[in-house]
Amino acid sequence: MPKPVLRVVTANRLADGRVVFLAGAGWTRAIGAASLLSDPQAEAAALARAEADAAADRVVDVYAVEVVREAAEIVPVRLRERIRLTGPTAGNSVAPSAPRAS
């Protein structure tokens, strides 16, 4: 059985560009806390809420992302979105003594 494909709505935060996901109470950095959308109506409603937040200048670049459940994790289907979620895969200078929390 292929895993059912769900969707989450994502964006980048306006002030710092960080990747966020739409949750019940607003936007979250943790995909595990995001609202999982299983049908087109829920997705349309979530996108409408997200676009309203974009119009209110909280986030930019709103869109829906396909995800699947793997064990307890929510994992994006596309590599691009997995990299957006977990950061560059390239190692080294991307993980130095970071002085700033992201």
């Binding site: 002030a15 200048d57 930019v60 560059p88 390239a90 200078s93 991307v94």
Partner: protein
């Protein structure tokens, strides 16, 4: 080095203040993203996968120790403690917050740097030979002309909304170290039979989805006509360049579609009309700008250095570094040292803030406080006494900066790719890391000899794959990363666009494929002195195809 005058200082300060206000209004919701986006792009601010990205212009790739220290400080304070040097001699920060960008711009302005025209459909940062002013084969330092072009093109009202971006490069030597023929305009400084200075003019080159080698429009343009001729080219492009299709909007397409002869006629007609006007360069102004680039006060030194030769004999690691990373200098007793930003397993072009500060210190101690950024994503100390090379090498080794691979197979150029970039279809950096890991053995690299491997994560070709002896282009095939290989490209004076060798490879397979190409070259070359390009041009693609895909 060039220092800002009152005009430079005033317009940069004005732009910082403007952008601070624009960011504040955006965050307060007074302007929309649609209104703000062109404003942020005009100040070098992109939105990437994980964050904003800020691109800083390093005009003609020259910077001072003071500027490098400021870049390190910004990287530490506003980024994650590093910066990324690009194939356009720029520096990118990959993690700045929008709210911090005005402060970053203010910090840059303090050291006479900015992000103006590092994005958008305007004349971008003018690039130059990273060995400018010091290369043994140089006719004339091209940077004064690059600086004149920078001043003329900065905020030039007629050319801020071109059909597409516009890139100019300048070299001053017959060896092309700046990929001149892959630029919208390439100027090669030369002398005519009478000894007068001028330029060979190349127009309409570019990479991207439609790679083109520039056409030579003029064999010799007199020095005084530099700006008038450039303006004539820009006017013809601005008038006729396509605005209906961004993929056909670059000058290269116009030159290709209209034909170089028709374009030359139009440019020459426009040039004839404006040649004697205000853009004619006064000789005293050229000399005034050139004085900023006067050579430093080199000590008189013998051509041979006993300290250098003793270190060569005593230390194999130094000898390897000296062979690959040290180039001949025009002044006796001196050398040009390349600092590789390609440690095996590292990210091509990345430097940590600590490394940037080390380079700034070493430049102060050994290179008159001057540093260059190469379009091959390395740094260069241009004025090192040969006597000082062993001490410089030890200090670089202590900072993890003594990788002895400049120009070799592991000196791989790679764009940020899908690890950072919203345009990318596939990752570049991990492929570069794995190829470098496979070919890392020092003796093997030395036996293979000079080899340019170039990787782009999408068709926009920021990783210059078209100009790679071995080029790798990442594509998305049904949701999987997939890599096409091209062979025989060159960004040098023998410029060529690499040819696709055959069907592409998965991310797993591509490392082995590159190794097979390298092994085939070594097995089939006429001898160690036959370069990859010479061998490819002699042999054609057949032996490489056979190695990759088996006998036909």
């Amino acid at each position: 080095m060039y220092r800002y005058d009152e005009f430079d200082r005033a317009f940069v300060a004005e732009r910082v203040a403007q952008f601070r206000d624009q960011v504040a209004r955006r965050l307060a919701g007074e302007i929309s993203e649609e209104q703000f986006k062109p404003l942020r792009l005009q100040n070098g601010v992109y939105l990437q996968l994980h964050s904003y990205m800020l691109r800083i212009a390093i005009p003609y790739g020259t910077l001072s120790s003071r500027q490098m220290r400021a870049l390190a400080g910004i990287g530490r304070r506003f980024d994650k403690g590093y910066g990324h040097f690009t194939t356009r001699q720029n520096l990118q920060y990959h993690w700045p917050a929008l709210v911090d960008v005005p402060d970053i711009l203010a910090a840059l302005a303090e050291v006479e740097m900015h992000c103006i025209q590092t994005s958008g459909n305007c004349i971008r940062n003018v690039t130059a030979d990273h060995f400018a002013g010091v290369a043994a084969d140089e006719i004339c330092d091209p940077r004064p002309y690059a600086e004149i072009l920078r001043q003329w093109s900065s905020l030039h009202p007629e050319f801020l909304f071109l059909p597409r971006k516009f890139k100019v490069a300048v070299t001053g030597a017959p060896s092309d170290r700046a990929a001149l023929r892959f630029h919208d305009i390439g100027y090669e400084v030369k002398r005519d039979a009478s000894g007068a200075l001028g330029f060979a003019v190349f127009v309409g080159g570019g990479m991207g989805r439609t790679p083109m080698i520039a056409r030579k429009l003029r064999d010799f343009l007199p020095e005084a006509d530099l700006l008038a001729y450039t303006e004539a080219i820009l006017r013809v492009y601005n008038l006729h360049g396509r605005r209906d299709n961004k993929y056909k909007a670059r000058l290269k397409i116009l030159v290709h579609e209209a034909g170089p002869e028709a374009i030359r006629e139009e440019i020459e007609a426009e040039f004839a009309a404006i040649r004697e006007g205000v853009l004619r360069l006064p000789d005293e102004e050229v000399r005034r700008i050139a004085a900023y680039f006067a050579p430093p006060a080199y000590a008189r030194r013998p051509a041979r250095s006993a300290a250098f030769e003793a270190a060569l004999a005593a230390d194999p690691a130094f000898a390897r570094w000296a062979k690959n990373n040290v180039a001949p200098h025009k002044v006796a007793g001196h050398a040009i040292a390349t600092i590789s930003l390609k440690p095996v397993g590292g990210v091509p072009g990345d430097a940590t803030a600590d490394q940037m500060e080390t380079v700034a210190d070493l430049a102060e101690r050994y290179s008159f406080g001057e540093i260059r950024v190469s379009h091959e994503q390395n740094l260069v100390l241009p004025h090192v006494a040969r006597d000082d090379l062993p001490a410089l090498h030890r200090a670089l080794a202590d900072a993890g900066l003594a990788t002895a691979n400049a120009g070799l197979a592991t000196d791989i150029v790679a764009c940020p790719g899908l690890d950072y970039c919203t345009l990318a279809n596939a990752r570049s950096i991990p492929i570069a890391q794995r190829i470098a890991g496979r070919l890392a053995d020092a003796a093997r690299q030395q036996a293979v000899g000079p080899l340019k491997i170039r990787i782009s994560g999408c068709i926009n070709a920021c990783g210059h794959h078209h100009a790679g002896h071995i080029g790798i282009l990442g594509v998305d095939r049904k949701g999987e990363e997939f890599y096409q290989i091209t062979l025989g490209g060159s960004g040098a004076e023998d410029a060529a666009i690499g040819e696709i060798v055959g069907r592409g490879f998965s991310g797993e397979e591509v490392v082995g494929a590159v190794e097979a190409i390298v092994d085939t070259y070594v097995a089939k070359r006429a001898g160690p002195s036959e370069s990859f390009l010479a061998a490819y041009r002699r042999l054609g693609p057949a032996p490489f195809k056979e190695a990759l895909y088996g006998a036909a």
